[in-house]
């Protein structure tokens, strides 16, 4: 009941704030939220969900707001849209029960899952090798057979993809805006991949601790995202090597999987650490404190995944390999399992919202309001 009530309060607050924004419109140049807003007169729950995922939480509209605290209107778009987003991650999660589970304690749960899986894997591995032994281990498959890894990770990944698809389908169906055209898809992809809406509209960045612009967050996010993609590419290339070329791991540093994975891992470690660092200094006014554990939890898991992966690569041929492998695989498993319910989902929902906007902005205006 209280959760439902909270949802209604957040929705009512978002609608109140957006009605003030729609009568002001000064922030139109910052991002897509405001141009999308001006196409509407009313802000029901589905509309607010859509706008909330268009918001990249750059903070520009808060610093520029003549109605922000201490003004009695108390307008705070980044915060209320963050609250709405937090609500939608839970409401649209599939199955729903897992969504609320994660939201309650993101950081503890993430770390506990990483360590839990790692411990579980160590116990499993101890049947094949000595996890804490002194014997140098070179071949991962001596610890976990390749098929076993595939049997664990493939279904987990498949589940995550299905759950995310179910969630984003709910989101997509809420505000029907018509079919996606090729130009709309191209534009949405470009805006998502370039983090266009962290550029402040003027191209000079977004806000962190104060009203200054900075590219920090955009660049660090790029490091994490593209680092992640490099790691994904590394795994994909390795899969091709394994199945197509019958060339099983381990690979040398001169091979594509190692180069891609190495670069990606470093980028992710730097990016995640940087994001956690600038997050500490971010102006608290723009955030939803309730989501802090969820945000931090996700970045910490990514950091554990990346750091343990890097450590594993560097530990090649030493006795630390079994334990590090268990930690790495455990964190990857935790990451995959929580994907649909963690901050990972933001990328999927945001891309969907960007596509919605790319579709919508190509449609003629239905309102022709004239003001002073």
């Amino acid at each position: 009941m209280t959760v439902v009530l909270q949802s209604l309060v957040v929705q009512a607050e978002a609608a109140r704030v957006l009605q003030i924004c729609n009568a002001c419109r000064y922030c139109e140049g910052f991002c897509a939220v405001f141009p999308a807003m001006t196409r509407r007169l009313e802000f029901d729950a589905p509309t607010v969900h859509y706008l909330s995922h268009l918001c990249h939480h750059c903070g520009a509209c808060l610093h520029a707001c003549q109605y922000a605290d201490p003004h009695e209107f108390q307008v705070n778009v980044p915060r209320v849209l963050a609250q709405v987003r937090g609500k939608t991650y839970i409401d649209m999660a599939w199955p729903s029960a897992l969504g609320s589970l994660y939201a309650r304690n993101g950081l503890t749960l993430s770390v506990a899952l990483c360590l839990g899986f790692a411990l579980f894997l160590m116990i499993a591995a101890s049947r094949n090798v000595s996890v804490w032994g002194s014997q140098p281990v070179d071949n991962f498959y001596a610890i976990f057979p390749h098929q076993l890894m595939v049997a664990i990770f493939l279904p987990t990944l498949a589940f995550a993809v299905i759950a995310l698809t179910m969630g984003v389908r709910r989101f997509w169906a809420e505000t029907p805006l018509g079919p996606a055209t090729a130009p709309a898809m191209t534009e949405a992809a470009a805006h998502a991949l370039s983090l266009k809406y962290l550029d402040g509209g003027h191209g000079e960045g977004c806000h962190n601790e104060d009203d200054r612009w900075t590219h920090q967050r955009r660049r660090l996010h790029h490091l994490v995202f593209w680092g992640f993609m490099l790691c994904l590419a590394s795994t994909s290339v390795a899969t091709v090597y394994h199945y197509v070329l019958s060339w099983p791991a381990p690979y040398d540093w001169s091979t594509a999987p190692k180069v891609l994975g190495g670069l990606g891992g470093v980028a992710m470690v730097v990016g995640c650490t940087g994001l956690l660092w600038i997050r500490r200094r971010r102006d608290r006014a723009m955030s939803d404190p309730k989501q802090s554990p969820m945000d931090v939890g996700f970045v910490v898991v990514l950091l554990i995944v990346a750091a343990s992966g890097m450590a594993l690569a560097l530990a090649k041929g030493t006795a630390a390999v079994p334990a590090l492998l268990c930690l790495h695989l455990g964190s990857v498993l935790a990451f995959m399992l929580t994907m649909p319910y963690s901050k990972f989902a933001h990328g999927v929902f945001r891309s969907a919202a960007l596509l919605k906007w790319a579709i919508e902005r190509r449609q003629p205006l239905s309102l022709k309001a004239v003001g002073d």
Partner: protein, 471 residues
């Protein structure tokens, strides 16, 4: 001793402070408000009017000096000083590069304001973003900014500025001074006395809402006038808009305006119409409705539309009264039902057939109705009906200090050698009455820069012994 003391913390003050600092002067800026409220009325602005000979970045087509001047002449009814007005107009063409250098960014005109895309450059994020940028730049350049530092009194010696005395009693001496601390609209008592009592015994100004900062109390203006500074303008003249009666007493800003006046009718509390709602395009008329409402009994009026108007005007910040019948709307608006119904019926009957087009001066008008509605007159017949109660909202007052082309404050017709004025405190030199969008920020920026440059020069022109040691 400091070279230049700037009193005020909005656009004009910051323009002066930055310009003086760029000229090498040491600068202290005194903002009366605490930091979160800094920037005065500038925080509520969104653009400045600029002349330009050809399309430039966010500005379309061209807007010549002559056209700008004619626009100003028309809105002020000739109550302007041409030499100063032209100085502002010419200064408006090249100030954006300077603004950009200090961190201000521009954007194309906002939705619903296409009519301004040729004449007005919009600040990205609006005036508060501009104010933030200027304060950042001021900090980077080493301007000393002090918040919560309202000035109570200026010490003068025969028209020469000596020092400023803060409300706290602290005395700050400087070689020259720029006063850029706005009008007096938030001094309720001064406003009350200026407007006086009307024939019904009401004090109209008591009903006024202030659209801008609560810190524009006119203390420095009053102090200087008491010390013999020459004034311009009429204390009742101001930028006044009819705004939603539920707007906050201060700082309601842009969003409290009600833009459906030209799409319906406006009645006073007796249920009677009192002015042609369709006289001209709304952007050219919104600024007269504050005074019109101020002249009505109780200083209230009600803008009434039917469902045909929904979606044709900028969405209002507050929901209007909504009713299925005119009688119910009258009850909600607390106007006499019979009088209101007969006003609407008479209006509906007087509407002549025509082709409604809100984007031009169309032929939908009334016949044999007083006052007439000359455009966009559509019978109010489609329920639900909506009503918005209006009150006068003061943006800023026009009574100010007389200045010359150097922005120098005058005493008995003589310009002060080291006291200058910029922004709303001297806007009355250019704006005797009326308004055209964005001209306030143009005056503030152009005169702020002139005042800052002259103040720096004045400080450096003083003999070394007068300049003392250690800056």
């Amino acid at each position: 001793m400091t070279d230049v003391l700037v009193i005020g913390g909005g656009n004009a003050a910051l323009s002066a402070a930055l310009t003086a600092r760029e000229a090498g002067a040491s600068v202290i800026l005194l903002e009366a408000a605490p930091r979160p409220w800094r920037g005065g009325n500038s925080s509520h602005t969104r653009n400045l009017r600029c002349m330009h000979d050809s399309p430039q970045d966010v500005l379309t087509e061209s807007y010549s000096e002559e056209e700008f001047w004619q626009d100003l002449l028309a809105v002020t009814g000739g109550q302007t000083q041409e030499s100063l007005a032209r100085l502002v107009i010419r200064g408006s063409q090249d100030c954006r590069r300077w603004m950009f250098r200090h961190g201000v960014r521009f954007q194309p005109s906002l939705s619903g304001t296409l009519h301004l895309s040729r004449t007005n450059a919009f600040f990205m994020g609006g005036g508060k973003a501009l104010v933030n940028a200027y304060y950042r730049s001021a900090q980077a350049l080493g301007v000393q900014v002090r918040y919560e530092a309202p000035v109570a009194h200026l010490e003068l010696e025969g028209g020469r500025f000596v020092s400023a005395v803060l409300s706290s009693g602290e005395r700050i001496a400087a070689r020259s001074c720029v006063v850029a601390c706005g009008g007096f609209e938030s001094d309720r008592e001064w406003l009350r006395q200026a407007w006086g009592q009307n024939a019904q015994g009401e004090w109209p100004a008591d009903a006024f809402l202030i659209r801008g900062t609560r810190y524009n109390r006119g203390a420095v203006l009053k102090d200087l006038m008491a010390q013999g500074a020459d004034a311009v303008g009429d204390p009742t003249q101001a930028h006044m808009v009819a705004i939603d009666a539920r707007a906050p007493l201060y700082d309601g800003g842009i969003c409290t305006r009600v833009d459906c006046v030209s799409l319906g009718i406006v009645v006073n509390r007796l249920g009677q119409r009192f002015y042609d709602e369709g006289e001209d395009f709304w952007p050219k008329r919104y600024a007269i409705w504050g005074r019109l409402v101020a002249q009505q009994p109780g200083q209230v009026a009600h803008s009434v539309i039917d469902s045909q108007a929904v979606g044709r005007f900028m969405p209002p910040v507050f929901e209007g009264c909504r009713a299925a019948t005119l009688a119910d709307l009258a009850r909600q608006l607390q106007v006499p039902t019979e009088a209101f119904e007969s006003t609407v019926n008479a209006f509906n009957a007087a509407c002549q057939p025509g082709t409604f087009d809100h984007s031009r001066l169309d032929d939908c008008r009334t016949q044999h109705l007083h006052p007439a509605k000359t455009h966009w007159a559509l019978p109010l017949v489609k329920p639900p009906f909506y009503g918005y109660t209006l009150k006068p909202g003061v943006t800023f007052t026009y009574l100010g200090l007389k200045v010359n082309e150097s922005a120098a404050v005058h005493f008995a017709g003589q310009p002060s050698p080291n006291l200058f004025a910029a922004g709303e405190i001297m806007a009355g030199n250019v704006l005797g009455k009326g308004y055209t969008a964005g001209v306030g920020m143009t005056i503030g920026t152009v005169f702020g820069r002139i005042a800052g440059a002259k103040a720096a020069r004045s400080a450096y022109a003083q003999p070394p012994e007068a300049r003392g040691a250690g800056t």
